[in-house]
Amino acid sequence: VEADPAVVGAQPCQNTFEEGVVVPYTVDPDLQPWISMLPDLDIRDLPAARELMAGPKVAMPPLVLPDGVTREERVVPGPPAAPDVRVLIFSPESGTSRSALVYMHGGGFVLGDADGDQELPSLLAAETGAVVVSVDYRLAPENPFPAPIEDCYAALVWVAGNALELDVDPDRIGIGGVSAGGGLAAGVALLARDRGGPALCFQLLDIPELDDRLETASMRQFLDTPLWNLPNAVESWRHYLGPLTARGEVSPYAAPSRATDLSGLPPAYISACEFDPLRDEGIAYAQQLLQHGVATELHLYPGTFHGSGGLVPTAGISRRMRTELVNAARRGLAPKTVPARVHDAVAT
C-alpha cells in the first residue's frame, strides 16, 4: 500500500517539539494498526506493570524451538557472595567449532526474565551456530546496580571457563542483548576489558539503554512514544541506580555512555529505532566507539519504535531488522582470519 505515513490514530500519540507545534509520529504503515494493541506500560506503577507482563492479557507466543536447537536450563556460580545465576542455554547442532553469545533480555532493568524472551536467542543459535546463553539476571529495584550486571559478568566468566565442556571456541565469545539487555551487554564488555576478564570478539547492542542522563534530543522529545518514553526511562534508571542516583556517582558500567575511554572494546553492532527515546544514545555510543577505533556497524530503522521489531515480527521493516541483526551476529562471531587493523598501523 502506497499509503501516506499517517498519523498514529489509536492512542494520543504525538509530541511537542516547541511550544504549540505538534508533530505526528510517522510510524511505518505495517506497524501502525498494532499500536492500539499495545498495553499501557507505565513502570511508575511497577507492581501493576509486572502483573501486566505476567498476566493473560499480554502475548507470550508459544515458543517453538527452531530445528536443531535444544534448550537447557542451568544454574551457574554467581558473583562473589551472591546467589547462583540461572541461565537458559540454546545449543545448535554440534559443529566443528562453535562460538558462544552471552545474551540478556530487555525490560528496563526492572521487568522481564529469560523465559519471557526465548525467541530471539533461539533464533540466533539456529542462524549463527552459536551457543546462546541467556542470563536470568536479578532485577531492580530489589537488586539495583551492580547486582544485575555482575550476574551477567559471572555468566560470561562461566561460559569462558567452561568453553571445553560447552564445545565452544574460547576465542569466539560475544555478548549481546536487547534494550536494557543491550545496556548490560555494553557494560559487561567494559567490565571484561577493565578486569582483564574473558576476551570478547563481538558486542550486539540491539536498541540499547545506555545513558542515565536522559538529555539526548530523542529522549527529551519522545514523551509519549509507544512502549518506551521519558517517563518510563526516568523510572528505569531511578530503580537501577538506586542510591547511586542521589549521590550523583554513576558508574560507566551502569551507564556505558558515561565511559570516557571505549578503546579496546570488541567490534559492535548497534541498532536504533526512529521513534525510540533511546535512539540518540545508541547513535552517540556508536560514534564514540568508532572514534576510539572500535569497528562498529550502526543501523537506524525509519518508522520504527522501541521494540516494534519483536512486537510485529511479520512487518517488512521488522523482517529487515531481524535479518540484519542475525547477519551481524553471524559475522561478529565468525572466525577471524586477519585481525590486523589499519588503525594499528597509523596510530601514534
Partner: protein, 364 residues
C-alpha cells in the same frame, strides 16, 4: 521489551478492549490496506484463522495466524457474520471456544473488508479505466485483486457480464460500442494487445449491425468474477469471425458467438499459428489465394463449405451455377480430391478452418 502485546485470547469484551480492536481495524481502513493485508493482520490479532467470502462460492479469502493467505472457504462450524453487501466474515472458532471479542472482530472485519474494496472517490475516478478491465479479465490476476478491480469498475463480483473481443479500426469500434451501449454507462472497455475488450452488462443484445471492417467474438454471459472465462471464449470466437467489406458479403461472419462454436472452440483454444504447418492442403489453398482472382475463389470455397451445396452457394454469391462449378473444379484439380463428395466437403472445411486459425492467432 520484546513480545509485549495485548493478547486477544486474554482480553474481556469491555469498552477499552473493544475500542482498541476498533482502532486496529480503523487504521487498516485509513491506510486503504489491500484485502489480503487486512485479512493477514486480522488473523494475527485473532490468533485464529479468519476469512471473508461471498455466499455463493465465487469469492473467498482466508488468512491463518502465521500470516499466510489463501482462497479457502470457511471451515465447518465457523462463527460468521454477514453484512448487507452479501459478504460474510468468519472466524474459525465458535461455541465453547469462542472468545469475548470475537463478535466485535467479525463485525469490524466485515465492514473493513467492504471499505478496502474501494471508496466512492476511487470508484468514480476509476470508472472505465482500461487497466481495471484488463485486470478483471486477466488469467493471472489474483482473486482479491480481481474483486477489487470489479468493484472499482462499479460492478459487483456477481454482476452478469458478457465479454466481447473486437477487431477493427478505432473509429469503427467506437461506432459499434456506441450502438451497443446506447450512450449509457453499461460498457467497460480496454485494449488488450491488438484487440478491443468490451464488457457488456448482462447478455449480448441480438440483431446488432456490425460496421464494415469490424469483427466481434462474443463470450459467454457470466458473473464478473468469472470474466476471464468469458474473455477467453470471446477471443476464441473472434478467430472465426470475418469482416464484411460492403455490408452484403455473403461469406462474411462478422460476429461469432462462442456458445455456437461447438468443437471448433477446442481448436481455437489449442492451436497456435506455429502448430499449423506442413499441411499440403493448406499449402495448395495458399497458392490458390495468391493467384489472380484467388481471393474470390477462396471465398467461393468458404460458401460452398458453409452451405454444403453448389446450387445454394451460387444463389448466395449471386453467381451462375456454372461459374461456381468451374471454380470448384479448378480447386479440385489442384487439391486432388472431389470437393462435392461428403468427405471432400469435410476435408476442405477443416483445411479452411486451420488456415483461418493460422492467420488469426491474435493473442497467442
Amino acid at each position: 521489551v520484546q513480545g509485549l502485546l495485548l493478547r486477544f485470547s486474554g482480553l474481556d469484551a469491555d469498552v477499552e478492549h473493544a475500542f482498541r480492536l476498533i482502532s486496529f481495524f480503523d487504521v487498516l481502513v485509513q491506510q486503504q490496506a489491500k484485502p489480503e493485508e487486512l485479512l493477514r493482520n486480522a488473523a494475527v490479532v485473532a490468533e485464529c484463522a479468519v476469512g471473508v467470502q461471498d455466499l455463493d462460492g465465487r469469492f473467498a479469502l482466508r488468512a491463518l495466524p502465521d500470516g499466510t493467505v489463501d482462497e479457502e472457504r470457511a471451515e465447518c462450524g465457523a462463527a460468521s457474520r454477514t453484512v448487507t453487501s452479501g459478504y460474510q466474515a468468519w472466524i474459525g472458532r465458535c461455541g465453547d471456544s469462542a472468545l469475548p471479542l470475537d463478535e466485535i472482530l467479525l463485525e469490524r472485519l466485515a465492514i473493513a473488508f467492504i471499505a478496502t474494496l474501494g471508496d466512492d472517490e476511487a470508484t468514480s475516478a476509476g470508472l472505465g479505466d482500461p487497466a481495471l478491465l484488463e485486470l478483471v479479465v486477466g488469467q493471472s490476476t489474483a482473486a482479491p485483486e480481481r474483486t477489487r478491480a470489479v468493484h472499482l469498475l462499479g460492478l459487483t463480483p456477481w454482476t452478469e457480464v458478457t465479454l466481447l473481443s473486437v477487431l477493427g479500426a478505432v473509429d469503427a469500434v467506437d461506432a459499434f460500442a456506441a450502438e451497443l451501449g446506447g450512450g449509457g454507462s453499461s460498457l467497460r472497455r480496454a485494449i488488450i494487445g491488438p484487440v478491443h475488450a468490451i464488457a457488456v452488462i448482462g447478455a449480448m443484445p441480438h440483431d446488432l449491425a456490425i460496421p464494415d471492417g469490424v469483427t466481434v467474438g462474443v463470450g459467454t454471459t457470466t458473473r464478473a468474477v468469472n470474466a476471464p472465462t468469458s474473455w477467453e471464449k470471446a477471443v476464441r470466437a473472434l478467430r472465426y469471425a470475418t469482416a464484411s467489406t460492403d455490408g452484403l458479403d455473403p461469406a462474411a461472419r462478422p460476429i461469432v458467438y462462442a456458445s455456437e462454436l461447438g468443437p471448433f472452440e477446442l481448436l481455437a483454444a489449442q492451436l497456435r499459428s506455429s502448430d499449423i504447418r506442413g499441411v499440403a492442403d493448406i499449402d495448395v489453398l495458399d497458392e490458390l489465394a495468391a493467384e489472380p482472382s484467388g481471393v474470390g475463389l477462396l471465398r467461393t470455397l468458404e460458401v460452398v463449405v458453409h452451405t454444403g451445396s453448389l446450387r445454394e452457394a451460387a444463389r448466395k454469391l449471386y453467381l451462375h451455377h456454372n461459374s461456381v462449378s468451374g471454380r470448384v473444379a479448378r480447386a479440385e484439380g489442384r487439391l486432388g480430391y472431389r470437393i462435392t463428395e461428403p468427405t471432400g466437403i469435410a476435408r476442405l472445411g477443416l483445411a479452411l478452418t486451420l488456415r483461418r486459425l493460422r492467420d488469426t492467432d491474435l493473442l497467442g
